[in-house]
Symmetry: C2
Subunit: 296 residues, 2 copies
């Protein structure tokens, strides 16, 4: 990992926090409970992995940071809306998220439902905002990619497969397919959106980036499964041990912890190899390392 | 009403039905329950008021029908997602919609939640689709308008105010403000999106259209309140009498049925007057009449 990575990461995390803070409606605006709920769930928490991936991918084509800010916010808003809905009683019925009460615990189910819905709308409003110097055709491509990655062929589709897999013996390829949609689609979108903010990549570099995103997306989920099985709720900021409790198939339940850790290491290496010859990709390599090593 | 209005309406309703049928993922695609639920809630029902408004507004600037198709589908998808979420047990807990079991009754709450979420994503994916001859800057403007009208300052915000108004004595201006967000925002967006598909309007015509949309949006809600108080569930295709049962403030509860009917007639007249000098607005006038006269 580069020496200055932690400084870079902190700076970008603060940057996206400030951008989200500005983008989200003030809690004093009517309807106040809804806006308060949206801010509660979005601000002051999370590792901001998807924004970080967008900023890192933007560095390859020397993207204007103000353009990446919009992509970073939109990605995080989609991620947060999915957490808010995933925590609802009819889904995971979870009470703790990012070290705080979940949205429906703090504001009630109806407001949490609407907060998630509104965060999704805001993500697309943000990507469609009038940003000086941004190319409209690129903006539309980014909206199309994010919408596809969020919907039934992406994140929401992965969650639907997840619902149907409780208590079911999935094979490893089936588990992988579920996670490629559930987590991988938005992580790949983060890398694509970031790179679309910079100068256009040649097909070889673009493919390298796709392979990187695929491997990092899966590695992220394998590490998540390991942390759920081995971490504690306080450290994670969310309820640990949920997967086993809900009888969900995971990399840990299918392979055991040792093999899952080995798989994460392999995927990390594949991600690094994919971008070895891609100029300007140092931050992406750092992020792959950070994702592998993370403890929360 | 023009002689051929019912033929025009039927033709446009069939057109948007076909476009939605093509746009929605096939029910055979994985995850099948999610895609089946999305189709169940979207296809084969509803008056398609928002698409009809978009087609009618498109006629002012002689819009290419293929461009309006995308706007019409996106508007209907947002409307349908809001119905699916609004029917959930934590919201209105409704069992009947468009004469069919509601989404969560037919597919379970988690799938209904994800179906609503995915329909919202699909709306933006549709507006961001690659349509020959469409101007990218216009497309972005349409996405921005639809996202704003759907979110916390539009439809979802109106629903949040609605939540907080149960058992509360709202004043008429407060009720109006709620409905301007809850119903009016998407109806105004329909008129704006349709007109953006055609040649650019001058400011005078554009303002006329805004006044029309404002009045029609309110008239629609006043008629809705009257129908809820006087109609039967079979004819409406949804549960009648819900407002009184849930102790929700409505135009009927605040003014009585006779005065609410009079208000709807006034708003209809204001809508007609607003576009009296707007060339090509015959269909919009017809639609205002249809909205006033509807019985379901």
């Amino acid at each position: 990992m580069s020496n200055d990575f932690s400084g870079w990461m902190r700076e970008r995390q603060e940057r996206v926090e400030l951008a989200l803070e500005r983008l989200l409606p003030d809690a004093g605006h009517i309807p106040k409970p809804l806006h308060t709920a949206m801010r509660h769930s979005t601000l002051g928490g999370g590792k901001r992995i998807r924004p970080l991936l967008a900023y890192a991918a933007g560095e390859i084509g020397a993207a204007d940071l103000r353009h990446v800010d919009n992509a970073a916010c939109a990605l995080e808003l989609i991620h947060v809306y999915s957490l808010v809905h995933d925590d609802l009683p009819c889904m995971d019925n979870d009470v703790l998220r990012r070290g705080k009460p979940t949205c429906h615990v703090a504001f009630g189910e109806p407001t949490a439902l609407l907060a998630g819905d509104s965060l999704q709308s805001l993500a697309f409003e943000c990507l469609a905002s009038d940003t000086p110097g941004e190319h409209p055709a690129r903006q539309i491509e980014m909206i199309r990619i994010l919408a596809h990655a969020s919907g039934s062929f992406g994140m929401a589709g992965g969650q639907a497969i997840d619902l149907g897999s409780v208590g079911v013996d999935l094979t490893l390829p089936e588990l992988e397919f579920m996670h490629i949609l559930k987590t991988g689609a938005l992580i790949s979108a983060a890398v694509q959106l970031g790179s679309l903010c910079g100068t256009e990549l040649n097909p070889e570099h673009s493919n390298a980036l796709k392979r990187y995103a695929h491997c990092v997306g899966l590695a992220f989920q394998v590490v998540d499964d390991v942390l759920d099985a081995t971490g504690d709720s306080h450290q994670l900021g969310k309820t640990a041990g949920k997967d086993a409790e809900h009888d969900k198939p995971t990399y840990v339940s299918l392979m055991g912890i040792a093999a899952a850790r080995e798989l994460a290491t392999d995927l990390h290496q594949q991600a690094i190899d994919a971008i070895a010859k891609l100029p300007g990709s140092d931050r992406l390599a750092d992020l792959a390392h950070f994702i592998l090593q993370r403890t929360s």
